[in-house]
């Protein structure tokens, strides 16, 4: 695999721990941009994610109407100048609802990943470092969770807890946790015998200090990549649960629930389920493209040519 001199010089910088990367800002951003521009799809992904975040934050400014304002005079209006995406069966503006919907759908996805990543990383690191029977028990429990068809488990849990957006988030976070436990455990296992960890231990650092300052920061790169790829999946899963009635409830503007409501009208009012679904697709696409790009950037094996 021929490598340019530039990338060879930067390779250690990119493999260096994520936190120190941020702390020192020692990354050659020109190189990062060079890698990104070689993959236009990643740039597209970034643009999508930025747009989605902007829409989410600026929803009150961007959305032309109140997402919950009923206006029976314009029910099921086709897309046009006044209503870009048309209106639903009670005359709510679908464009405004899609914009506001990002606050439930995307935020739900982000919370889901934050929970599973946080929980999984802590449990995985602890499990990898403790070894012995604790490690064995934790990993067997994770095996059981992984052996479950995850959506079925999330569905059963969400049904058991009762339908609400929060009750859709928790089960999805639980079923995704084992992936982070495995990743973090693997990282902890390879890192715990490194010289600098041994050195810190021999200086009398507490195990808490070792985990916090040495193990976790150095484990983060693959975990962040996994998390980025997971956000798209989490948004899809949350909206799927909402679609089958186990997530967000009326009148919350949530993309999956909007597709479900629009389903009854799709033969004559195609726009109703189409735009919320398109929002899910484009958002998931954005996060997946960024995740892919990050993985190629950080994984030296994929960094060919």
């Amino acid at each position: 695999m021929p490598r340019t001199r530039k990338s060879a010089a930067l390779a250690p910088a990119l493999q260096r721990p994520f936190v120190s990367m941020w702390a020192r800002w020692g990354v050659d951003w020109r190189y990062v941009w060079y890698r990104l521009s070689a993959s236009p799809l990643t740039v597209v992904g970034f643009a999508i994610v930025m747009t989605v975040f902007a829409a989410m934050i600026l929803a009150p400014v961007v959305a032309p109407y109140d997402p919950n304002r009923l206006s029976l005079a314009v029910r099921l209006a086709a897309p046009g100048w006044h209503h870009l995406f048309g209106t639903d069966e009670v005359g709510r503006d679908l464009f405004s609802r899609v914009i506001w919907g990002s606050r439930s759908s995307v935020v739900a996805g982000l919370i889901t990943v934050a929970i599973s990543m946080g929980l999984g990383t802590c449990v995985g690191a602890a499990s990898g470092l403790s070894s012995g029977w604790v490690d064995t028990v934790v990993m067997r429990i994770m095996d059981v969770l992984l052996a479950f068809p995850s959506f079925i488990l999330a569905m059963a849990l969400a049904a058991a807890l009762g339908p609400s957006l929060m009750n859709a988030i928790v089960p999805i976070a639980i079923v995704r946790t084992p992936f982070y436990v495995r990743l973090a455990r693997g990282q902890a296992l390879t890192l715990r015998d490194r010289a600098y960890v041994r050195a810190a231990e021999s200086f009398g650092s507490s195990s808490w200090h070792v985990v916090w300052r040495h193990i976790l920061p150095n484990s983060m790169a693959p975990i962040i990549v996994q998390a980025t790829l997971d956000i798209g999946l989490a948004i899809l899963t949350v909206s799927a649960l909402s679609f089958i009635g186990l997530g967000a409830q009326q009148p919350t503007a949530e993309w999956g629930a909007m597709v479900a409501n629009g389903r009854a009208y799709f033969l004559d009012q195609w726009w109703y389920p189409t735009f919320p679904g398109l929002a899910i697709l484009v958002t998931a696409l954005g996060f997946n493209l960024v995740g892919d790009g990050l993985r190629e950037l950080l994984d030296p094996r994929l960094r060919g040519r």
């Binding site: 059981v144 052996a147 058991a160 679609f243 997946n288």
Partner: protein, 338 residues
């Protein structure tokens, strides 16, 4: 460690996992708020009737005892009675599972037949515009909500173009073929009923396409990255130096080796297929397990939810076990270590 020991360890793990699955499904089913006894007895039933119902369902016993009773019945293939359909759950599963298996297999067939060559093409033309275009298709596959894609396809092919039927497994007026596998396409073929076969095929096309597209992306990705790795190997260079044609190198040498790691994917894909099947079946009113379990959920019908979750997980665990074992047989490196 001998190969036999590895296999035994793997089997033990599978048993452990199955037990875990049973415990988890049991716990979840008892978390359900709302009272199944009241639900079954009816809204206006007296307290006494509800109490009687609770006793009949065994809900008045302590949890560990309920679990023990459940396990004991399970050993005899008894999954309880569905509260909604009032039939034995095992009978319901037998009735609805073949439709789901048929749909999943058709989707997998589409995903593999289309995904394999596309993945190879992407790997061979790595970093070209074609690769970027194919990458877009595969990322689209994993980003598209299956339930939404189903709606769009239904709208296009049924509503606008009118060339494919909307929902169900067969046209009205066509009887199901004699049951052999429970899969209408296979059964019709076996019975030589061509009209039934045609009807079954046009009905399965859209759901299979919907479900398959999601997995197409995953297969393309896997094959692409495995092929790229293999194409950099020394033996490929040797084969090239030896003057073999590109086609022979790609199909005869590279693809064969790239497919070994992809085999493990198939087991994991089944989980995605089940997930997709639940959503796809509701869109196309496909009378399979997905449809069944969605209706059961809205009814708090915990014996059938539990039965479905258990059977689905069981199939998933066994399939992954089979895949792992065949992987051990296929990969000479693992066999050698064993």
């Amino acid at each position: 460690m001998s190969l036999l020991q590895i296999v035994c360890r793997r089997l033990l793990l599978a048993i452990l996992v199955i037990f875990g699955v049973l415990v988890v499904t049991f716990i979840i089913s008892r978390l359900i708020p709302g009272d199944p006894a009241r639900l079954m007895a009816g809204e206006h039933a007296s307290q006494q009737t509800v109490q009687h119902m609770r006793h009949v369902l065994g809900l008045d016993k302590p949890l560990p005892e309920q679990f023990a009773v459940y396990l004991g019945k399970l050993a005899h293939g008894d999954l309880g009675i569905s509260i909604r359909t009032e039939r034995p759950v095992s009978e319901d599963i037998r009735r609805f599972f073949p439709a789901t298996i048929e749909l999943s297999l058709a989707a997998l067939l589409f995903a593999v037949v289309a995904g394999l060559p596309l993945g190879v093409v992407a790997a061979v033309s790595k970093d070209s515009w074609l690769d970027q275009a194919l990458r877009t298709v595969s990322v689209l596959g994993i980003s598209i909500p299956a339930f939404w894609l189903g709606l769009l396809l239904l709208d296009l092919f049924y509503n606008v173009l009118g060339i494919l039927p909307g929902t169900g497994r067969l046209d009205e007026g066509i009887n199901a073929p004699p049951v052999v596998t429970g899969m209408f396409t296979v059964d019709a073929l076996l019975a030589g009923q061509w009209r039934t076969l045609h009807s079954a095929l046009v009905h399965i096309a859209l759901p299979a396409l919907t479900l398959g597209f999601v997995n197409l992306g995953i297969i393309m990705r896997q094959i692409r990255s495995a092929m790229i790795e293999v194409l950099q190997e020394d033996y490929i260079r040797t084969a090239r130096a030896g003057g073999l044609s590109s086609a022979r190198i790609i199909v005869g040498h590279a693809l064969r080796n790239a497919m070994i790691p992809s085999v493990t994917m198939l087991g994991l894909l089944f989980g995605d297929l089940l997930y997709g099947a639940v959503l796809t079946e509701t869109i196309f009113a496909w009378p399979g397990m997905g449809n069944y379990v969605i209706q059961s959920i809205s009814f708090l019908d915990f014996p059938s939810i539990m039965g479905f979750a258990m059977v689905a997980s069981l199939v998933y665990v066994l399939l992954n076990l089979a895949v792992d074992l065949s992987y051990m047989m296929l990969d000479p490196q693992i066999r050698e270590i064993g």
